[in-house]
C-alpha cells in the first residue's frame, strides 16, 4: 500500500477492465514521472469523453450529437440493419468496407451468469425500429461465442415472424471469439457469406 494520492490512482486504475494490480501500479508510476503537460492532456481527454460523447438515440453507437455519424449519413441504406453487441464492433465492421447499411448496438449479449437478460439489452428499442417496415434484412453480427449465438437465436425467433430476412455472419470467424479481434479479411468474408437463420 502506498500513501494518499498515488494509492488512490492505483485503486482507480485497477477498477478498469483488463488492468490488474500490477499494471495499475505501473501506469500510476508512469503518470507520476510523466511530463505535466501530457498528464493534463490525458485528464482532459478523460473528462471530455464523459462530457461530449453520448449514445446515438437511434442506434446506441457512440456519438457526439443526438445521432451518430452513420445514422446521419444519407448515403447509407436504411433497409439493411446490422445488430452488434458493442460500439467497438461497429468500428471493426466499418474497417471491412463491406457494409453500407445501418447498425443497432445492443449493449452486450444475453448472459445469465452475469445476470444479463433481454430486458437489460436494447432489444425493445430494436423492435421499435423494425416496426415501420423499412428494414428488409437484419444481420445478426453478435460475437461468435456462446452468449453471442444465444442472443442471435433469441433475436431470430423474435424477428422472423415479422417477415424480415434474418441472416447471421458466416463462420470462419474464430469460435469462442470476439468480433473486434477478427481481422478485416476474415470479418469481411464473413459478411459476404452470411447465411439465413
Amino acid at each position: 500500500m502506498y500513501e494518499g494520492a498515488i494509492q488512490d490512482l492505483i485503486d482507480e486504475l485497477g477498477r478498469l477492465p483488463g488492468v490488474g494490480p500490477k499494471s495499475a501500479q505501473r501506469i500510476a508510476f508512469h503518470v507520476l514521472s510523466a511530463d505535466p503537460a501530457d498528464v493534463k492532456r490525458l485528464a482532459a481527454a478523460l473528462q471530455r469523453v464523459k462530457e461530449l460523447v453520448r449514445f446515438c438515440t437511434t442506434c446506441f453507437n457512440v456519438a457526439e450529437s443526438e445521432q451518430c455519424r452513420i445514422c446521419r449519413d444519407p448515403r447509407r441504406t436504411g433497409d439493411v440493419l446490422c445488430v452488434v453487441e458493442e460500439p467497438k464492433d461497429v468500428v471493426a465492421i466499418e474497417r471491412t468496407g463491406e457494409f453500407r447499411g445501418r447498425y443497432h448496438v445492443l449493449g452486450g449479449a444475453i448472459n445469465p451468469l452475469e445476470g444479463i437478460g433481454p430486458d437489460n439489452l436494447r432489444i425493445r428499442e430494436l423492435m421499435a425500429r423494425l416496426a415501420d417496415g423499412t428494414v428488409k434484412e437484419l444481420i445478426l453480427a453478435t460475437d461468435p461465442n456462446t452468449e453471442g449465438e444465444a442472443t442471435a437465436t433469441y433475436l431470430a425467433l423474435l424477428v422472423k415472424p415479422m417477415g424480415i430476412a434474418v441472416t447471421r455472419l458466416a463462420s470462419g470467424l474464430p469460435v469462442g471469439g470476439d468480433l473486434e479481434y477478427a481481422d478485416e479479411i476474415t470479418l469481411g468474408r464473413a459478411f459476404e457469406g452470411r447465411r439465413a437463420v
Binding site: I110, L113, P118, T146, A150, T153, V175, G176
Partner: protein, 373 residues
C-alpha cells in the same frame, strides 16, 4: 511421433531438467517418490493441457516457485516442433509453437499426441460416470482437436442454462415471484444442438473402440470373460445428429417442469455414462481389483490402438504397470505395445520390464535423469 527432448523448469519436483529421448522404448527407473510420474505428467499436460492427477494447476508448480515451464521437442514425420507451455496458477496458460506465441493455449492441442496409463486410471472403472465421460471426451479431442471446441461450447451453454434456472429458483425461494425464463427456449435449442454433436461423436467413438478394448483386455487380463463397452445415453435416438438433437429437445420439453422446480439442467450428455461389462456382469461393483485394473489398462491401450489405427502414432506412457502383472501377461503386453513409435515406461524394479522391449534406461534421482549404460 516421439518426444526428442524435454525441458522442465519448476515443474513439480524438478527445478530444472533437460533430457533427450530417442524413438522406441525408454525405461525410467527409480524408487518411489523420486519423480517418475511427475515427468510423464508433464508430457501429458503438454499433450492435453490437463493433469491426470489434479484438477487445479497449483500443485504442478514447484513449491516456492510461481511459474512452471514445460518445453518439449516433438518429432513427427521427420520434422521437429517445439511446444512450450508456461503454467501459472490463477492465470491463463501461455503457449508457444516453435517460439511464436499462440493466441489460445488450445492451439497446441494435437502437437503432441499421447496416451498415458497411470494407477489413477482405476477410477475409470470404479469412479463416477464423469471419469468415463472425460475418458471419451479426451480421446475425441486427441483424434480431432476441434472437439475441444465442441466440448467447451457444450459446457458453456450448460453453465449459462444452469445459471438461468438457478436464478429463477432462488428468486422463487425468497418469494420474489416468477423470474424471466423467456430465454430458456433459446438455451434449450443450443443445448440440444451442441449436446447432439457431442453425443454423436461419443457414440461413434464407442463403436470404434469396442474391438480394441476386447483385444487389449484379452491380452492383459488374467481372468475369463470378454470386456465390452457401450455408450449409455439419457435419451433414445441417434446415432445421427439430427435425431439426437430432436430427442434432446423432446426430453428437455418433458423435463422442463422438474428443471424449473429444481433449478438445474437434468437432460444432456453431461449425465450420460459409458458402461463397462465383463462377460455378463457390469465391471463397476462386480469386478475384482485385478479385473478392474486390467479393464482400465485395456481402455487406455484401446485408445492408443485406435489413434494408431487412424494414422497418428501417439506416444504411449505406462506408469507403474509391469509390477502389477505376472510374467505371461507382461509378455503379452510387451507384444502389444512393442512396436510403439515411443514408449515411456516407469518402474521401481527394472527386472519387471520384459527384456524384449529393450530400449534405453534412465535412472531417476532427485530432480535429474541419468542415462544408464
Amino acid at each position: 511421433m516421439y518426444v526428442s527432448r524435454l525441458e522442465l523448469v519448476d515443474f513439480r519436483s524438478y527445478p530444472h531438467l533437460v533430457v533427450e529421448f530417442e524413438a522406441g522404448c525408454s525405461v525410467l527407473v527409480g524408487p518411489n517418490g523420486v519423480g517418475k510420474t511427475n515427468l510423464v505428467e508433464a508430457l501429458h499436460y503438454l499433450s492435453t493441457l490437463d493433469s491426470h492427477r489434479v484438477a487445479v494447476d497449483a500443485p504442478l508448480v514447484r513449491a516456492g516457485a510461481t511459474t512452471a515451464v514445460i518445453r518439449g521437442e516433438i518429432v513427427h514425420d521427420g520434422r521437429s516442433l517445439l511446444v512450450e507451455l508456461a503454467v501459472e496458477p490463477g492465470r491463463a496458460n501461455r503457449a508457444r509453437l516453435n517460439g511464436a506465441p499462440v493466441r489460445r493455449p488450445r492451439e497446441v492441442l494435437g502437437a503432441l499426441r499421447m496416451v498415458l496409463f497411470a494407477p489413477e486410471d482405476l477410477a475409470l472403472v470404479r469412479g463416477d460416470p464423469a471419469e468415463r465421460r472425460r475418458y471419451l471426451d479426451d480421446l475425441l479431442v486427441a483424434r480431432q482437436p476441434r472437439y475441444a471446441g465442441v466440448r467447451a461450447d457444450y459446457e458453456r451453454v450448460l453453465k449459462q442454462r444452469n445459471a438461468l434456472l438457478r436464478t429463477a429458483y432462488l428468486a422463487r425461494k425468497v418469494g420474489a415471484g416468477a423470474r424471466d425464463l423467456s430465454t430458456l427456449d433459446v438455451w434449450d435449442l443450443h443445448l440440444a444442438q451442441h449436446g447432439a454433436e457431442l453425443m454423436a461423436a461419443r457414440m461413434e467413438l464407442c463403436a470404434a473402440l469396442g474391438p480394441h478394448v476386447a483385444k487389449a483386455y484379452d491380452a492383459v487380463a488374467a481372468g475369463r470373460g470378454a470386456a465390452t463397452v457401450a455408450y449409455r445415453p439419457g435419451v433414445e435416438g441417434g446415432p445421427d445428429r439430427a435425431t439426437l438433437a430432436q430427442a434432446l429437445s423432446d426430453a428437455l420439453t418433458a423435463a422442463r417442469p422438474s428443471e424449473v422446480d429444481r433449478g438445474v439442467t437434468l437432460v444432456g450428455p453431461h449425465r450420460d455414462d459409458l458402461t463397462l461389462t465383463l462377460g455378463e456382469l457390469p465391471a463397476k461393483g462386480y469386478a475384482s481389483h485385478g479385473e478392474s485394473w486390467s479393464f482400465a489398462l485395456a481402455l487406455r491401450l484401446a485408445a492408443y490402438e485406435l489413434l494408431r489405427a487412424e494414422g497418428v502414432e501417439p506416444v504411449l506412457a505406462l506408469d507403474d504397470v509391469f509390477a502389477e502383472l505376472d510374467t505371461g501377461r507382461r509378455d503379452r503386453l510387451a507384444e502389444l505395445v512393442g512396436g510403439a513409435a515411443q514408449l515411456l515406461v516407469t518402474c521401481a524394479v527394472p527386472q519387471d520390464v520384459p527384456q524384449r522391449l529393450g530400449g534405453v534406461r534412465y535412472d531417476v534421482a532427485e530432480g535429474a535423469l541419468r542415462r544408464a549404460g
